[in-house]
Amino acid sequence: MAGHDTTEMEHDVHTEQENAWDGGTQPFRISYGKLMMWYFLLSDAFTFAGFLIAYGTLRFSSATWPVPDFVFSTAPFGVEHRPLIFVTIMSFLLIISSVTMVRAVQEGHRENKRGVVFWMLLTVLGGAGFLGCQAWEWTNLIGNEHMTVTRNPFGTHVESGVYLGPDGKPSEETFNVGGSYLMHKAELNTSLSDEEVVAGFSGHDDEGHGGHAVNAYDKDYGFMYVDEEGFIHRKFVVEEGEKPGSVQMELFGPVAFGALFFFITGFHGFHVLSGVAFLLIILINSASGIYAERKNGYEMVEKIGLYWHFVDLVWVFVFLVFYLL
């Protein structure tokens, strides 16, 4: 071979570590598939980081922002006013499914087919449970609390004051700066008289949960304004604020909150969904014995394991940004 002697000499003076980059070996001592999974996850991390930084930027830019312990305080089976309980359960589902995934990878290294299938099955169950919880959370936010990507009924008071009662006079119900409120949607029942509407709102000083009927939308009832879509804007007298003594009404919260919540948790949920799909495919392949024949320590299980841990990793930050801070 021409030039053989010079390359030979170069090889001799290099250390073994540098030889790794001359070709023919894997310098990172990792297979091509796993390496590319790492780089895919890196690019995906930038996508999520972009979303979460956008959340932070818009939150910094808004005068008020809904507080998570008020927004996320509901759980299935009628549990209410229990802040963060439900999302903590969701976090634990993902953490546990991450641990079962590690177990599946370990059993793969031992070429133990039954172990791999068993632990992957548990992982799939954890992922599916998480998706079920998220479906419930979204249904509650959209169906009961009427939050959408373009509308956010969770508002924050920027002054302290006292709400007007159904008689149009200040009631006992006061609030402070930074207090949160959720605007409820009124039902439309045109057969009611104005007196009946007001009577329906009397005797309620709690938050109430819908069920309040009005006889027309886009109508001012004195103590509240019902807008074109039926949202009840309660009125109040400002005690401490820009214009003390003036009567003002509740307004919608920053629109960006709903859009960011649904886009970011939706994007993460879609990752979980596709993760569950790939877990199932690899689970079936493992059970069929394809990977056992390859004798490479169930490398496909390792790859989907990397992806699955990444989904858990992203949730750590979604949890931090949306629910904890």
């Binding site: 310098p27 990172f28 001592r29 990792i30 390496l35 790492w38 780089y39 996850l41 890196l42 991390a45 930038f46 980081a49 972009g50 930084i53 956008a54 932070g56 930027t57 818009l58 939150r59 910094f60 830019s61 808004s62 005068a63 507080v67 312990d69 802040p83 963060l84 903590t88 976090s91 634990f92 953490i95 546990i96 991450s98 641990v99 995934m101 590690v102 177990r103 370990q106 290294h109 031992r110 930074g178 320590g297 394991g305 990397l306 841990h309 990444f310 858990d312 990793l313 750590v316 930050f317 949890f319 931090l320 629910y323 904890l324 801070l325």
Partner: protein, 143 residues
């Protein structure tokens, strides 16, 4: 691959990891609710307490991320070059955080100003003031 650990040791370390993540997560939730005044102590007037809680939450989350990457994803047992080629690019986000949060903050401070300018009406053709302006240029009269 955790070649330096026996099978039993690696199983034990997995469940230790589970316990660690669970405890850290529960502590995070406790911290967050404490800061919001759910633990019987109202701290919302002490901004330095809230700042410490926020920093604590971020540090604990970063620790969880470190643990997931280094133990569960086995980054701690890979070649250093691989770890650096994946982790160092993430440092680019430091600048993104500084730049965008600064942007958001100044946006908030200028909201009133921008609103006022948008609502201002032109009051008539611009008067010639030192500099010669074309006739179709209108000056905004603020306030």
């Amino acid at each position: 691959m955790s070649t330096h650990k026996t099978y039993e040791e690696s199983i034990r370390s997995v469940y230790k990891g589970l316990a660690l993540l669970a405890v850290v997560t529960l502590f995070e939730v406790f911290l967050s609710l404490f800061g919001k005044g759910y633990m019987g102590v109202d701290v919302h007037e002490y901004t330095w307490v809230l700042a410490i809680i926020a920093i604590g939450l971020i540090v604990l989350s970063l620790y969880k991320a470190y643990f997931i990457i280094y133990e569960f994803m086995h980054m701690g047992y890979e070649v250093k070059g691989l770890a650096m080629s994946v982790l160092l690019p993430v440092l680019l986000l430091v600048w993104a955080l500084i730049a965008f949060f600064q942007e958001g903050n100044s946006w908030k401070e200028r909201r009133e100003d921008v609103k006022m300018r948008q609502e201002a009406k032109p009051t008539g053709p611009a008067q010639q003031q030192g500099m010669l302006l074309p006739e179709d240029v209108y000056l905004l009269q603020l306030s």
